[in-house]
C-alpha cells in the first residue's frame, strides 16, 4: 500500500487516488480539480483548514502545524 507523498495518508483503494489513477504518488485530497498535485502553499492552506475543521486549533497555529507536518513528507522535504 502506497502512502501519499504530500500528506502521508495511506492509499488503500483506487478512489484514494486522483481520478482512480493508482500510478500516482499523491492522494485525491492533495490533487487539484484537474488531477495535478497541489502546490506547497495550496497544500499548507488546505491542511491548515482541515486541522481547524477537525481539531479546532487557532488558524495561525494550524498553519504552522501544517507546515511542520509537511516538512517531514517526501514531497516537501
Amino acid at each position: 500500500m502506497k502512502t501519499c507523498i504530500a500528506c502521508g495518508m495511506p492509499m488503500k483503494n483506487a478512489e484514494d487516488y486522483p481520478g482512480g489513477d493508482t500510478s500516482l504518488d499523491y492522494c485525491v485530497h492533495c490533487a487539484r480539480p484537474d488531477g495535478s498535485m497541489q502546490s506547497y502553499d495550496e497544500k499548507a492552506a488546505s491542511m491548515a483548514a482541515f486541522i481547524v475543521r477537525t481539531q479546532g486549533l487557532d488558524e495561525g497555529v494550524a498553519l504552522a502545524t501544517a507546515k511542520e507536518m509537511m516538512a517531514k513528507l517526501p514531497a516537501w522535504s
Binding site: G8, P10, K12, I51, V52, T54, Q55, G56, K72
Partner: protein, 206 residues
C-alpha cells in the same frame, strides 16, 4: 535470527528499533520528560553511548518514539476502520490501537503540554490521523441522520478529552491493568449516547 546477507545498515536499523522500543517502556515507567537515556540504554542492553550514535539528543529520542508510535497507530486505525465505517467503529478501532501501547500513550497525554515543540507537533500529527477517520465517519453518519449535526472539532475534542481523562487517571480507574480494557466499552456507549439523535429528533430530521 539475522541472515548472512544482513548488512551493517540492517543491524543499525535493528538497534534503532530496539532503542525506540526500550524508550517506550522506560517512558511508561518513569515519564517522558524524566526518563534517563542511561536507563533506555540499559533496557535495550546497549552501551549508553550507543543511544547517541542513533539519536543526537534525548529530545530526538523521544520525538522518534512518538513518531514511531504515531505511524503504527495511524496504520492500525486505517486497517481497523474499514471503508465506510461508522463513528462507533472508528472509536472502537482508536481504542484498540491505543491499547497496544496504553502505558506510553497515557504518559504522552499527561505530559504533552510540557514537552518541547517538536514532540507536541508529533502528537498533533497523530491526532490529525485520528480526526481524519472520525471526520469521514461523522460526515457519513450525519448524512444518514445516525448522529446529530455537531461541529467536527467538538466531536473530536470531546472524545479525546474523555479518553485522555481516563488514561491520565488510569491508576484511579484501573489500578491493576488496562483502563481501556476495563472502561473502553462504557466510554464508547456514553459518547455515542451524546451524539445519537433521540427518537423524536431522528423522525424530524429524516
Amino acid at each position: 535470527m539475522l541472515g548472512p546477507t544482513t548488512t551493517r545498515a540492517d543491524k543499525k536499523q535493528a538497534t534503532r528499533a530496539a532503542l525506540i522500543s526500550a524508550a517506550m517502556r522506560v517512558y511508561e515507567l518513569d515519564g517522558i520528560a524524566a526518563a534517563r537515556t542511561a536507563d533506555v540504554a540499559a533496557a535495550a542492553d546497549v552501551a549508553h553511548g550507543t543511544v547517541f550514535v542513533h539519536f543526537p539528543s534525548r529530545e530526538a529520542l523521544f520525538v522518534a518514539a512518538i513518531e514511531d508510535f504515531g505511524g503504527k497507530l495511524a496504520s492500525r486505525l486505517h486497517e481497523l476502520a474499514a471503508d465506510g465505517a461508522h463513528v462507533r467503529e472508528v472509536l472502537e478501532a482508536h481504542l484498540r490501537g491505543l491499547a497496544e501501547h496504553e502505558g506510553f500513550y497515557s504518559r504522552l497525554a499527561i505530559e504533552a503540554p510540557l514537552l518541547p515543540r517538536e514532540a507536541r507537533q508529533s502528537l498533533l500529527s497523530i491526532q490529525s490521523a485520528i480526526s481524519f477517520h472520525i471526520a469521514e465517519a461523522a460526515e457519513r453518519d450525519e448524512a444518514a441522520s445516525l448522529i446529530k449535526p455537531i461541529p467536527t472539532y467538538l466531536l473530536f475534542n470531546t472524545w479525546i478529552g474523555l479518553v485522555h481523562y481516563y488514561l491520565a487517571n488510569r491508576d484511579l480507574f484501573a489500578p491493576d491493568g488496562s483502563v481501556i480494557e476495563r472502561c473502553g466499552a462504557e466510554l464508547i456507549e456514553h459518547f455515542m449516547s451524546l451524539i445519537v439523535p433521540c427518537p423524536n429528533q431522528k423522525e424530524e430530521t429524516s
